[in-house]
């Protein structure tokens, strides 16, 4: 029915993925990092769906669903950790997380 070139789909996924990566690398606010992580995971999921559509299989979507689940679990634990961090440090700046270093 619909034809979307698989490599274009993958390219979009890659761009989103890398934007997410840039976000993780640049933002000091841990909430933004969390959001960027979601972008990356979503991009990976997008890639799976593109590939699944390409092979006309359900596996890609199944994988997307699992990624979705994982994102949810991760965000829940992540937010809990952020709350604790805020409690300890009164900030969401990741630069304060340098108690542990060489």
């Amino acid at each position: 029915m619909i034809y979307v070139p698989a490599n274009m789909g993958l390219l979009l996924a890659a761009i989103l993925f890398l934007l997410g990566l840039i976000g993780v690398l640049t933002r000091r606010n841990v909430l933004f990092i969390l959001m960027s992580l979601e972008i990356m995971l979503n991009a990976a999921g997008l890639a799976f769906v593109v590939a699944g559509a390409h092979w006309m299989q359900a596996d890609g979507q199944v994988m997307f669903i699992f990624i979705l689940t994982m994102a949810a679990a991760e965000v829940s634990v992540g937010l809990a950790l952020i709350l604790q961090m805020h409690r300890h440090h009164k900030t969401v700046d990741t630069n304060v997380l340098n108690l542990l270093k060489d």
Binding site: L10, L37, V77, M85
Partner: protein, 480 residues
């Protein structure tokens, strides 16, 4: 549809999963640390023993899993490690945290992730296992939530693990895009056997390497290791060092051997570089480290590098060597962290090498164990570490991968320096200005007993390892 007939094959995994649920239910009824603890112990023991009821041979379970000798071996290994870690956790948690029952749920769940990973035959099951492992680990690492260091390491691990998981997923999707399969045998079937892979597949492999390399803490994906080891509680560090890495390594073997990913020369080279860098950097980083947990972290980077030598040999012997070494590494790391737990007290862990000054004159038995562990990690004879290293060298020499073999030798020479440093401190004069009146956590039971057991295992496998070798040779031949 899934048939119940296959379920007996994944009995250990089921037991652990059930135990996790049950512990949670019990908590809902009544919180009891002791009960959770004992129940978890039984669960691990049962999981280990249940392996005996799995028939011999290689069976697929619902295309996600394959249960074979190799998987069973690792199942037992992980269950035993879980058992030991549980044993060592009880008093530690009592001393350092108020609410401890969830710990056992998380420990069981992360072990479940590891257990399913070692029998994974499919990217989906691998990914899910990895995430079960990771998500529970986020919580486990940050478990001591009253401590900034714990939370810090939790966040670090979460961010980094998520990034690496994303890479992994992206990589898998590329592989899927190329082959149309997510199961390993399907992927292998869709590839040319000569190692001439298409670009997308290769790029996918590279990103999978990032994900796996991160979990195994191979250079350059190793940066998280010391911080997480140091920030997490010692039992969790032990878990991260052993179970988490071992399970991923088991899958690495399966993945690359069954898909023939190493046929590609570039992939092989990339892994060689990773291995060389891990061996050298890990040991270099540890050279002047004063924090014993960080030191162990660096040392584990090096050890995983050593394992890669066996992995890169791509032979029967290489597999056996890797398996043997992993067992030895498990024992060594568990005993090392066990000693740290033993020496810790309510106020904090015995993190610094100086905390062990003159240990030999105060607690000779503990010091002897720790010394043996250090020597085993350094690969000195009479300990299992030596035979492990011998096996690795044998594997490397057989196929003539001289660069790796020489780097292995050189880096274990470098490694010797810091292991000996620890040993020397233990045998040095007594610490005069030691004011800490706080009693240590360690008790004869279970810590002393467990450590002694691990110590004896190190010696046993170091002096008369025939029985273990026999088993390993069997399972290696099963997997071929």
């Amino acid at each position: 549809m899934i048939s119940l007939a296959g379920l007996n094959l994944i009995l250990p995994q089921l037991i652990i999963a059930l135990a996790a649920v049950l512990v949670m239910l019990f908590i809902a009824v009544k919180r009891s640390h002791k009960f959770s603890f004992i129940f978890t112990l039984f669960a691990f023991a049962a999981a280990a023993i249940s392996v005996l009821y799995i028939p011999r041979g290689s069976f697929g379970v619902s295309s996600l899993f394959v249960v074979d000798g190799f998987g069973k071996f690792f199942t037992v290994l992980i269950a035993c490690a879980g058992f030991v870690i549980t044993l060592m956790s009880y008093h530690y948690l009592n001393a350092r945290e108020k609410r401890n029952e969830e710990y056992y749920i998380l420990l069981l769940l992360s072990s479940l992730g590891a257990l399913t990973m070692v029998i994974s035959d499919h990217f989906v099951s691998f990914f899910l296992s990895l995430e079960v492992l990771s998500v529970s680990l986020y919580a486990l690492i940050g478990y001591l939530k009253e401590e900034p260091a714990g939370i810090e390491s939790g966040i670090k691990y979460l961010v980094l693990a998520a990034v690496s998981s994303s890479f992994l997923l992206f990589g898998i999707s590329l592989i899927y895009m190329q082959t149309g399969h997510l199961d390993l045998s399907g992927i292998a079937a869709g590839l040319s056997p000569s190692g001439e892979f298409s670009g997308v597949f290769i790029a996918g492999l590279a990103m999978v390497i990032v994900g796996i390399g991160f979990k195994m803490a191979l250079v350059p994906f190793h940066l998280w290791t010391p911080d997480i080891y140091a920030g997490a509680s010692a039992p969790v560090s032990a878990f991260v060092a052993t179970v988490s890495k071992g399970a991923v390594f088991a899958f690495l073997l399966r993945l690359f051997y069954s898909t023939g990913g190493l046929e590609n020369k570039n992939v092989w080279t990339a892994f060689t570089i990773i291995a060389v860098a891990s061996m050298l950097f890990g040991n270099w980083l540890a050279l002047r480290q004063q924090n014993i947990k960080r030191l162990l972290a660096y040392s584990s980077i090096g050890h995983l590098g050593y394992l890669m030598v066996a992995f890169l040999a791509i032979t029967d012997r290489g597999m056996q060597a890797a398996t043997f070494y992993l067992v030895v590494y498990f024992i060594g790391m568990l005993a090392a962290f066990g000693t740290v737990i033993y020496m810790s007290n309510k106020k904090g862990e015995a993190l610094y090498i100086d905390d062990y000054r003159g240990l030999f004159w105060k607690k000779p038995w503990l010091a002897a164990i720790f010394t043996t562990v250090m020597l085993s990690l350094a690969g000195i004879p009479l300990t299992a570490g030596f035979l492990g290293k011998l096996y690795l060298l044998t594997a490397g020499t057989e196929v003539g991968i001289w660069l790796l073999v020489i780097v292995l030798v050189v880096s274990s020479g470098i490694g010797l320096f810091y292991y000996l440093r620890v040993v020397a401190v233990m045998f040095a004069g007594k610490n005069e200005n030691e004011a800490s009146s706080e009693p240590v956590i360690g008790k004869i039971f279970p810590h002393g007993l467990v450590l002694t057991l691990l110590f004896l295992l190190l010696l046993w496998f170091g002096v008369y390892p025939s029985s273990l070798l026999e088993i390993i040779q069997q399972i290696a031949s099963v997997i071929r």
